[in-house]
Symmetry: C2
Subunit: 549 residues, 2 copies
Amino acid sequence: MTVQSAWTEKVELKREQLKDKIADEWKLDNETIRRLKDDKKNLIKNIDDLCSSIENQITHSTIIKLREKLNAKQLTCYKITSAFCHRAALIHQVVNCLSEIMFLEALKLADYYDKHRPATLPPLYGIPISLKDQCNVEGVDTSLGYLSRTFKPKTKDEESLIVSYLRDLGAIIFVKTTVPSSMMATDTESNTFGYTYNSINLNFSSGGSSGGEGSLIGAHGSLLGLGTDIGGSIRIPSSYQGLFGLKPTFGRVPYLKVDNSFEGRETIPSVIGPLAKDLSDLRYFMSCIINVCKPWMRDVKCLPYYFDSTANELHSDYVVGIWYSDDVIGLPPSDIRALKLCEDLINKTEGMKAVKWEPPSKLSIELFDIANEADVADSGNEIRDEFELSGEPLLDILKPMVLDDGRPPYTVNQWWDLTKRVYNAQQSMREYYLSLPELERPDVVICPTTLMPFRPGDMLKTTLRHILLFNVLNFSSLSVPVGTVDCQMDGLMDVSSALNAEDKMIRTYWNDLIESGDIEGFPVGLQIVSPIFDDSEICKFASWLFTKI
Amino acid sequence: MTVQSAWTEKVELKREQLKDKIADEWKLDNETIRRLKDDKKNLIKNIDDLCSSIENQITHSTIIKLREKLNAKQLTCYKITSAFCHRAALIHQVVNCLSEIMFLEALKLADYYDKHRPATLPPLYGIPISLKDQCNVEGVDTSLGYLSRTFKPKTKDEESLIVSYLRDLGAIIFVKTTVPSSMMATDTESNTFGYTYNSINLNFSSGGSSGGEGSLIGAHGSLLGLGTDIGGSIRIPSSYQGLFGLKPTFGRVPYLKVDNSFEGRETIPSVIGPLAKDLSDLRYFMSCIINVCKPWMRDVKCLPYYFDSTANELHSDYVVGIWYSDDVIGLPPSDIRALKLCEDLINKTEGMKAVKWEPPSKLSIELFDIANEADVADSGNEIRDEFELSGEPLLDILKPMVLDDGRPPYTVNQWWDLTKRVYNAQQSMREYYLSLPELERPDVVICPTTLMPFRPGDMLKTTLRHILLFNVLNFSSLSVPVGTVDCQMDGLMDVSSALNAEDKMIRTYWNDLIESGDIEGFPVGLQIVSPIFDDSEICKFASWLFTKI
């Protein structure tokens, strides 16, 4: 058997096993799959048509509402779970978002829960939750998108702490979702599972690295799932599928026993957090995981703070910073429109004020550079080694991560120097914040996220300039959907006034998307960030904002 | 000028400048210096004899009491400051504990404070505070014990955040204290400043790396000073001079703009904390720096927690773990006696219980190994480079830190692996804690610190096995004095039953110290640590303990 045939055979086997976990009656014929794939912008409606009315009611609901119905015995855990399993199976057959399917186990547990219903239902009783393929679940692989890690089912002992908390809370784990190999890409593709499409608009990428989560939740295949974010991996798929996605500060949601790339790289750490259709669900989830589970008792990296999910009222003299630009990349008209909408709403509200958030461009450039340097500090050793283990070929989306110029990995002294730069940059941003008059220091800041979607193969035609800096800063950031692109209203960008080559590329790509019409109706995502690491505050502000928009 | 003469001349100049900052009337003649140096165990009394009665009353007081007298206008800031300057000058001439002298500036400020006394005195108004030679103060060097860093006075902008907080609180900065070059040793020696002796017993080392602080405060030359601890540097000098020394968890006391070795080495970070004669003073200081200054607003690494310094009462069903041994090193009789004293006190008290704290030996060995590997991860590059800058010769105490076997520094991948081991070890200790029945999980743990003092040149004849692990674990630890060595009562150790070569060395050294009688009356230090990172709790427990001892 050649190396080539060895790895492709392993891939075939994994894919077959995955497919076999979908019940025959849920399988779509090739004709339907083709039709749904071709109807790029209507997946939700098309899937609705394939589901029963009660299933659609369930999957278009929220955790909080489902919980009310469960409490009132108007629904069973089994009905809820079954609706999501069915819908996830259908979505997957079109966008390819699942890496592990646990329908049988989920339905069995749901049935058990219905038969052994306690007097008081645990906080997530009977609620299906999806997991990025980094979380360890007994009996299934955690691949990280690497073929080398398939066919190595995890044991009970290896289960992620967050998974055991979910079980304690009564949640039902039913699927794991696709990631790009290594997770160090903002597109979702692997040799093992293939390519994950955007479920809102199949012309585009689902984003990454929590692309499977984004795509699944985007089409109502799950109400809430867990992603991770080391460079936008929660926020990008959230933005691309019109979701709420929270990148908490480090140490809020427990990462214990969640598999990862670059384990031990604590400078600019990956964090774990929820993606959800509904903001109240997201806040409810955070309060369950933090306030109920108290993860600091089990995970030494977790901070012993509660999450303030109760109050919705904002304090008086509320200040919101608006960050329009870093003088490096011009914003597309859709982002400017969304930011202005927020700014106007805030300024119209008594007791609130919008101010410009304008940290020095030099600082945002430094933050961006640091993140990029950190990502290739090991010259790609770890990723290269993982690919060599299985013999699968390196993916194009990972080539920026794997240096081929022979540069050796950083020495520990170089790494410490980079870590110092991180601290200095964090501190410089704090100095900027403190340099503002006290009454103009923002409680939260609103800013762009992804600027625009990208087509498969075009990952490098977009920018992470509004994303990576918040990983380096360890700012909590909530990705929120603020309207959609309107080709007519938003229009073309002026390429001739581009500030630099990168800006020119972005403007040109935007114009291409506008001219093709493909981007019409695509969600516009913004970020709400906290300049002083307050995860609760950004959620509270978002709740206020979304009563107005 | 040869390299040799260049560095020695620079040293001479630095030493002369330091000496010149002591007023002539405070200078001791050579005869007195010799007499005080020879009377090894009576420095405090000998210095008392050289000071006025009112000076002795002041320097033998506490911050809290001095504050009362200042409030009642029974004392002036000038009188207090002058008393400490005088005493520090005298102590320094015997034990060599100062690296920077700021008497003139301190007295001028004290005078100003007396003349511009506010209605309500700030929390540390007029209280002299000493600083380890890592804190940046405008106008003076921060040497870290390196000749290369002398004659480079810091600017106002470079001042450490903690120094500016001390100024805000009204404290008076009057001296900086000696450290071993690089601070990566537990003895205090540098080519520039020479050797710092123990002020309780001049046969011995002051410990390190905050040796100057320990020695100064030990002989009442300061009530409270700041040290740092990456491997015992607060706790060892505290233990060796019978002080209270707090190594907080990371992120409690702000490290911003405090110069350091290995900046950017955030795995097993150095932390900054107080050494004090009096426990209530130490707690008061912590509450000022944390609760009043709110360092998290300025230093992004600081955690937004308050410090609970008010309550003294312990909660009911209080559990104290006692850690007698790690099966690697046998404890000297003095430590066993001190631990038993605490255990008996606890068991005699209603609502309290002492339990054995016995984490697996394998784990404490791993923690010790990790710390040692981290210390030479860069093969000594940084220290070697600093010595080469000035041409001064490498010190014997630093030779274990500077590899001469040609091993290259760790790659970033090796460093990440070590960081992973740190997390795993921290987590294993947490698992041990959680494995105990809930009613037997200790609120605090009491354990040994240094075991015994060492003579100049004997640094490597002692062990850090009960010290380094708490740096790796990020446990908060308070070093406390529990009695003194009694050669008669404590006696010899059995060398023939030594567990291994290291244990044999320790036992042999202990017997040598007992047989010589030098160790008679030497302070015994224990640590009170928090298995769940609770800095306030260990201080609260210590306050209870010291009402009983």
